[in-house]
Amino acid sequence: MAVFDYEQQIHNLKKRVEKKSFHPYFSQYVKPSKIDEDRILFLTYSLQNTDIPKEEMDTYISAAMLAHYAIDMHEKVTEQQLTSIKEKQLKVLAGDYYSGLYYSLLAGYQNIELIKDLADAIKIINEQKINIFQMGKGNDQLFMKSIKQVESILLTKFNGHFNQSSVYNELIEEFLFLKKLLNEIKNMRAGNENLFFKSLANCFLPHMPKMTELEGICYKYATESKLKLEDMMMSLPKLPSIVKTRLNQINSDYIDLSSPRVEEK
C-alpha cells in the first residue's frame, strides 16, 4: 500500500471512530480523548496481507480503537482538574458506552474470537494498572514491564489474532513503550500531575529518589528501547515508509529530550 493510502486510511478511520463514539450529551461536558493515529497505523498494518474485506477490516480497527478509547476515558475519571461532578460521572459512562460499542461492532461481524482476545487484553491492562498503582513491593524492571503491557497488549493481541509476525509485536511494544516514556518525561518537565513518576518512585521505597534520578531511569529504558527499534528497522526492511517515518520521528523526539534537565538547587 502506498504512503498516501495509509494516511488516507488513518484519516478515515479516525473520523469513523469519532463519529461512532459521538454522543450529544458527552460533547457538552467531556473533552474527547485524542485518537492515537499511531495505534490506527499499527492496527491497519496488522491487517495487511489478509483477505478480509475492507469494511470488515475497518470495523475491526474501529472496534479496537474504541476499546482503547474506553480505557483512556476511564483513566481520566481520576484526573484532578475535573471541573464538575457531572464531568466525572459522564467520563465513567462514556468509557462504559465505548466498551459497549466495541463489543457491539465485533458482535455484528460474529467475530467471537476477537471479542475474547480483546477482552483478555483489557483484563491484563487493568491488572497491570492496579499493579502499577500499588507498586512499592516491586522494582523498576517490573514497573516498566507493566507499563509496556498496558501500552501495547491490546494491539499485540489484535496482531496475534490475525496471525501476524511476532517480530512485529516487538516493534509495536517498543514503539509504544518509548512513546509513553517520552510523553511522561515531557509531562513531568511541564510540571503536570504525574502518577507515572509517583508510582515509579514507590519502587525505591524507603529511599525517595529525586526527580532527576527517576528521569535518568526512564531515560535508560528509553535508550534501550530506541536501540531495539533501530535494530528492528534494519531487520524488517519491508516496513511501509509511513511506519519508518514514525520511527524516525520518535527517534528525533528522543534526541530532543536527551538534553539534561537542569537540576534545581
Partner: protein, 320 residues
Amino acid sequence: MKLNLINSPLKADLELIEKELEKSIHSDIDLLQEASIQLLKAGGKRIRPIFVLLCAKFGTYDIHNVKNTAIALELIHMASLVHDDVIDEADLRRGRPTISYTWNDRVAMYTGDYMLARSLDYMTNIEDPMAHRILAKAIVEVCKGEIEQIKDKYRFDQNIRDYLRRIKRKTALLIAVSCELGAVSAGADEKTYRILYRFGYCIGMSYQIIDDILDFTATEETLGKPAGEDLRQGNITLPALYAMEDTQLRERIFKIRENIDTKEMEQIITHIKNSDAIEKSYDLSQKYLNKALVLLNDLPANPAKKMLQDIAKYIGKRKY
C-alpha cells in the same frame, strides 16, 4: 417469602454459579482480587443468574453451557455497580463500604473494567452470534439509560413516560436480556425466547418501581442510606411524579436541590409517603407483574414456569 427459599430446586446450580463467580474474578494481583471479592461477598440477590438458569429450562438445559451466560450477566451487573458507586460518590453499598470508599475511584474504575472484560470473556464461550448481538445492544442501551438519568436530574417537568423509558434501560433491559439469553443459550425456539424477554422486561419494570417505592418507605437501616435519598439527589422516580399531581407538593418538590435543608426534605418525604403516590406506584408495579404472569400462560407447564411465577409474586411483596 425469601427469594432463596423459592429457588431451592436450583440450589445446586446456584452454588455452582457462586463458586464459578469467585473463580471468574480470581486474579494474581492481590489488590484486584481483594476488591473484587469485597464486591462479590456483599452478596446481592443474584436475580440475573436465577433468571438465566430458569429460562434455560425452556430449552436444552446444560448447566455447563448456560453458566457462562449467567456468570457474564452477573459480572456485568457487578461492574456497573462499582462504576455507579463512583458516579454517585457512594460510601456504602448494601451496608458495606464501596470499593471507591475503601480504596479510591481509580481502583474502582480498574476493578469495574476488569469485571466487564471477564464478563465478555465468559460470554465468548457461547458460540451463538445472536446471543452476542443481544448482549452488546443491551450494554449500550443500559449506558444510554444511565446517561439519561444524569441528564434528567432535577428536571422536574418530566413525565411518567420519561421515567418508564429510563427504568427500562436502567434495570428492566438487563433482566429481560437475562431471561432471553438463558433461553437462547439453551437453544429454545424463537417464540419462547421472545415471550421470556417480555416477561423479564415486565418483571424488571415492576422490580425497579418497587425499588423506587422502597426508597421512600423503607428504613434507613434497611436501605443503608436515608429514605428519599434518590429525590434529594435529583432522581425523579415514580412516587415523586405521582406526588407532583398535588399542586402544593409539586411546588415544594420543584425547589429540591442537593443542598436542601434536611428538615424540609424530611417533611417532603413524609408528605409523599402520606399521599396516594405510593399506592398508585404499587398499582403500576402490580400491572407489570400481572402482565408478566399472563405472558407465562403461553409457555409449557414445567417446574421452571412455576418458579418464574413464584418470583413474580415475591417481587410484588418484597420489602427490601
